[in-house]
Amino acid sequence: MTIAQGQIFSFIAELIYCIGVLTMISRARKGIKIPELYQVPGLDALDEAIGRCTEMGRPVHFSPGIAGVDEAQTLAGLSILSYVARQCAKYDTDIIATNRRTVVYPIAEEIVKQAFVQEGKIANFKVENVRFISEDQFAYATGVTGIMYREKPAANLLLGAFWAESLIFAEVGATAGAIQIAGTANTHQIPFFVAACDYCLIGEELYAASAYLTREPILMGSLVVQDWGKMFAAVCIVLGVLLQTASVSVLKDIMGK
């Protein structure tokens, strides 16, 4: 039994990273102070968007992206759905959650239902507002477009993994006059969201959302290690550039193992 060729560095790096995350979580559990998080305007605006819907008497539209449950972005999106649904339940605002994947749909339905249960407003939960549209990418895009035009949500929340349909959603939302908060880690779609939405969560901010929104120290602990990881990556990049410029390939060889 050996570590697969070319995976040794990645295995060790991920192992150290995971140990770091678990250590910080353990420290947070013991009540040791965790550094403050920087402000993420897109996440701060979630309450504002829900409040706008409440004032206007219009629903919130939420999409957890078009990927399945095997994609971390979808799970991050569903965590945000939990928060949004609970806020909607609290303020008696309708939430329309659309899904592309049949595997994601029952999870989304349960999340929204539980949010209404936790707020003691199960009577306000509308099962028909958590919708499976289609497994086909553009059929899903068309379905969401129709919902945006017909039901005119006052907030359009697009948080998960998106591909070519991202701009369709964002532009239709803008046309419908919705406040738009989008977030994805798919780098090729970020420019579309930046151009067409009011707020955009870029890459890691999507994953940090559940910790940021709940402010649970245990969840926030893992975010600190993310920043350490980025610093380590930055040091490796600078060191790698210098070493490669000097024709020294030690770092490259180690990382290639």
């Binding site: 039994m1 050996t2 570590i3 697969a4 060729q5 995976q7 295995f11 991920e14 990273y17 995971c18 678990l22 979580i25 399945g68 095997d70 971390a72 799970l75 991050a76 569903l78 965590s79 939990s82 609970r86 994947r101 049949t102 595997v103 749909y105 349960e110 999340i111 539980q114 249960v117 099962v127 028909e128 958590v130 499976f132 497994e135 553009f138 068309t142 070519a164 701009l167 369709i168 964002a170 532009e171 803008a174 880690a185 780098t187 970020i190 930046v194 151009a195 067409a196 870029i202 890459g203 890691e204 999507l206 994953y207 559940s210 649970e216 245990i218 969840l219 893992s222 993310q226 980025k230």
Partner: protein, 211 residues
């Protein structure tokens, strides 16, 4: 227990997949991983039924109550069930001529049509994004103009080779640097999220916010 059991199952299978990804030379791990992948496909296939039930409930109610635009709901159900019955009872294979005809002449053109509407959305989004309101928008506008002119023959003909070279430089240097920075952050975030879910610290996706 309602939340503990999924966390335990998730942890067991998650760790197994991670180990199978990194450890080589153990055929049992590869076989096991293939089994788990197949199970996922089976679960996904069964989940289709849940989706069909949801669509039927929503659109059936709309037709029953004759709500505005109920004809579209009726048409959706005719197409959904028509395609399903034809596939299951008549075609029985993706190679069936009738099935291929419907796919190639109905579904594929409709997909292409929706995809092609993107060009208009890009135009509208670009118009809003490129309005010069601050320094950042001005930089975006200049970069976009250079990129557009640099990627078409007309730009080179009108302005010379430098426009193409500049566009290439923007794409390969500042753009790549920014994208990779975001990717590094997103990858670290993804690993941390996966770990939080595996060990059951983050369980909002199981319903509720954990309290």
């Amino acid at each position: 227990m309602k939340q503990e059991l999924p966390v335990i199952i998730g942890l067991a299978f998650g760790l197994f997949i991670v180990i199978a990804m990194f450890v080589g030379g153990v055929p049992a791990l590869t076989t096991g991983k293939n089994y788990v992948d197949d199970w996922f496909l089976v679960v996904s296939a069964w989940a289709i039924a849940v989706g069909v039930v949801n669509l039927t409930q929503i659109h059936g109610r709309r037709v029953q109550q004759r709500r505005e635009g109920y004809q579209y709901s009726l048409w959706l159900m005719i197409c959904m069930f028509g395609m399903a019955f034809f596939g299951i009872l008549v075609a029985k294979s993706a190679d069936h001529e009738g099935w291929k005809f419907m796919y190639n002449n109905l579904i594929a053109p409709m997909n292409a049509t929706v995809y092609s509407t993107l060009v208009f959305y890009i135009g509208a989004a670009a118009y809003r994004a490129f309005r010069v309101r601050n320094v950042e928008a001005a930089v975006l506008l200049v970069a976009a103009v250079v990129m557009m002119l640099g990627r078409v023959p007309l730009g080179t003909v009108l302005l010379g080779d430098w426009i193409g070279d500049t566009a290439e430089w923007i794409l390969n240097v500042p753009n790549s640097a920014g994208m990779r920075g975001i990717q590094i952050g997103a990858t670290l975030g993804g690993i941390a999220t996966a770990l939080r879910i595996l060990v059951g610290i983050e369980r909002a996706h199981l319903g509720g916010t954990g309290d």
